[in-house]
Symmetry: C2
Subunit: 476 residues, 2 copies
């Protein structure tokens, strides 16, 4: 294995090196598509299990809708198809014949799902309807990067239908909170939350809420979005219900999703010069045990002690690396690269002292302790501590890279020379946002949704009265 | 809800009625594709969890490969593309432009996976390589039926690479055993296992093994297949490895899969005139509790007792149906239709007698028992009994509908008038199988793989010396 590129010198290359060398993904023969290798896919399965649990708490049920969307269906919501048509892959032939109607591979499933919901929803008793689907979607992309932007990706998309606007607003906010909690508790990633500026909302939505993380290189990365779709899609797909008074009403819809981009997010937020650092809650291997021995005799007793630890530590995902053709040093390096949160070393000295040696991936700290004291509870609490420590490190980095600016000069200076998030007063005009982008390459990641007195605040660039605080950053 | 069609009078209509009324699936706006509704999808998730556990025992790891396969890749194995090309959906446009190279939506993933394996496999130390993928696939179908035959379906496909032919043969057999065990233990479905006749093997395989179940209407249904691919794909995709002596060798490959067709299989094997009957091991709801009351006062105490049961019974998937706008009779009917294995009724009489009443879906048997005796262990063992009873019923049906015939007249009689499996001596010629099919509509589901003395046996139709016992049946 060639050494990783330096994270500080060439973050983009470092990222690709980690993806490939940590065995997370591989390039494929299909432009813009990657192969999720077992180690990378296992991380996704961990995320899925956790999100399934969270969605169940909101009474969301999993279902599955078709991959292919007939042109006549996808075309019904005008804003939506305008936004997505340029990104779509289109099937024109099936079963050896040209099709009478083109089929779009889903770039997202609002259209096909809502055309079905119109059959399912008749009465207020059918509401709220809360459906989620785990699926692959395809969006044609010019510039791709493993996990972060690929032509095909995996995701979940939640779709809920509500009798009232208030309920739908609340659901959109709840989905966002669910994602923020998931980012925090499961991925150990702090996020900023807020609303996308109108010019960057989901095609066809009333508004879009977003969670934005901060990568180590100071770039923002959108981690999950929640859309309040209002009544637009319901009207386009003829979804109606009879309320308690028997009156026909149009419901309100939300949709929200996170994708395999989250794997990339974990890499760019937590990774270091040695490679990946996985939060224990999504680590396919939480503890790796590396035996250290020289003679055959040592080998037998050391391996026996390693097996004993593996049996003793329950409720923990453990790998015993008993490969005989690799040196301990090679193994240390490999498991560090792959981001395993905790390494346990066991050698003749440990055996003699009835101790174990462990090394934390989050701090690099090495400790020796009595083997008898290292029970399952100890290991589990150590993993919790690592989980918390990764979050705190990421939080510290975000705090140190979040600035508030009143002048454009100040803003441009932070964005160009330091990197990170910049809060600044904004006049609410797309034109101003575009001008700021053309100079700084930064976009508005979100606008503040808290009520705040903007009296006297002026837009950082235009000098117009500001309407909102906006969060600017260069972004993935 | 309209009543179900009669299973005896119109099995095909009964099947569709069950699929739709039990809320398993819905038709979609896309020809030949269905929507997996939450209840149907939950059954699939149960199957997935169980199969993941079984595959893990064989050291198979999950991964994910691209949906779209470039024409130049899918074309490399001649037999394979000949078999699959007529069934493929083809993407010709992406990102608003005509593509330079057509992309096929995977009908199965041998081609895209093995073109990648050629990069991953260098040495005998990389073998065996055992990968599984959960994915959607698309095969253009003229006549579709929910779950049983749909244009898009969900499945798992295992792909393993081995250094020797023996190992690959063994893996193909192990995958078949894994499926047969899964059918038996998890789906409560007995299956026949054997080899597909050469004219019906997987396109590009050396041979195909199959599990065949028997529906209640006497038709066979292929439940899972395991293919020994030999070296054909390895040669086409240039997969080579250096053996321990440093010599370049061509490995042997297997692939094997089961799909959402299994949901249809469960319906046609276990269903009865009242609807679905789900084996407890894959039932999203194993126990439904139906409260029975007339007055508000009764309601409160009955619901309290129901909640207490729900809390008491751990390790069981329970639903308390506390809808106040539906009568107990309506609920009984609905949960029978949806195949819930065990219904518990709790009314004022039960309360007074400190008892519960339960009704088994497999037998319809109704029992009253002391509530104190009905603990988790009792409920769990009752569910095991139901699981076993469903298997025995299906096994009995299969035994009563499996015949051995020495004459064509006899065979034709059984196939036309009784239905089921017919074992008969076969001369090994496709032509003979085709002639039998043209008269009886029955195909060879599998040929016997056990060593057996065929001396003196004559083909049931041609009178030629028979080479194998073949299992004939009309099939889904």
């Amino acid at each position: 294995m060639s050494p990783l590129a330096s994270q500080t010198d060439d973050f983009a290359q470092w990222y690709l090196d980690v993806v490939l060398q940590a065995d997370l993904a591989d390039y494929s023969d299909v432009k813009g598509c990657i192969i999720f290798k077992p180690y990378g896919y296992a991380i996704w399965e961990m995320m899925q299990a956790d999100l399934n649990r969270r969605m169940k708490e909101h009474d969301v049920q999993n279902a599955y809708f078709p991959l292919l969307i007939p042109e006549s269906i996808i075309n019904k919501e005008k804003d939506h198809i305008e936004g997505f048509a340029p990104e779509c892959a289109v099937v024109t032939h099936g079963g050896g014949k040209e099709l009478a109607e083109k089929l779009y591979i889903r770039p997202t499933s609002e259209t096909i799902i809502y055309s079905t919901f119109s059959k399912w929803i008749k009465s207020h008793r059918d509401l709220p309807l809360k459906i989620n689907q785990w699926a692959n979607v395809v969006r044609w992309e010019m510039r791709t990067r493993p996990f972060l932007r690929t032509t095909e990706f995996l995701w979940q998309e939640g779709h809920t239908v509500h009798a009232t606007e208030e309920e739908a607003d609340e659901m959109a906010a709840q989905a966002l909170s669910m994602y923020a909690d998931f980012d925090h508790e499961t991925l150990a990633i702090p996020v900023m939350t807020g609303k996308k500026p109108d010019h960057d909302k989901f095609a066809g939505a009333d508004y879009t809420l977003t969670t934005e993380a901060l990568a180590k290189d100071g770039k923002a990365i959108q981690a999950g979005t929640s859309h309040m779709l209002g009544q637009g899609f319901a009207k386009a797909y003829d979804i109606k219900f009879l309320d308690a008074q028997g009156k026909s009403q149009i419901p309100f819809i939300t949709s929200w999703g996170v994708s395999t981009r989250l794997i990339g997010t974990v890499i760019v937020v937590h990774g270091d010069e040695k490679g990946l650092r996985l939060p224990p809650n999504i680590a396919p291997i939480q503890v790796v045990i590396v035996p250290i021995y020289k003679t055959d005799h040592e080998r037998d007793s050391v391996l026996e002690a390693c097996e004993a630890l593996k049996t003793k530590w329950t409720g923990v995902r453990i790998k015993l690396d008993d490969r005989s053709d690799k040196s301990p040093g090679f193994k240390f390096h490999e498991w560090e690269l792959k981001g395993v949160p905790l390494r346990v070393e066991m050698g003749p000295k440990d055996l003699a002292a009835q101790s174990i040696t462990y090394v934390r991936r989050d701090t690099g700290e090495k400790q020796q302790m009595l083997s008898a004291s290292a029970d399952s509870v100890f290991i589990q609490s150590l993993l919790s501590e690592i989980q918390g420590s990764l979050f705190r490190q990421a939080q510290m980095h975000m705090q140190e890279h979040t600035f508030t600016c009143e002048t454009f000069e100040d803003m441009n200076n932070y964005l160009s020379n330091v990197g990170g998030f910049v809060w600044a007063p904004w006049d609410g005009l797309r034109e101003t946002a575009d001008r700021i982008k053309s100079v700084t390459k930064a976009t508005i990641r979100l606008v503040d949704t808290e009520p705040r007195d903007m009296t006297g605040k002026k837009d950082v660039l235009s000098g117009n009265p500001a309407v909102k605080m906006a969060l600017f950053a260069k972004a993935y």
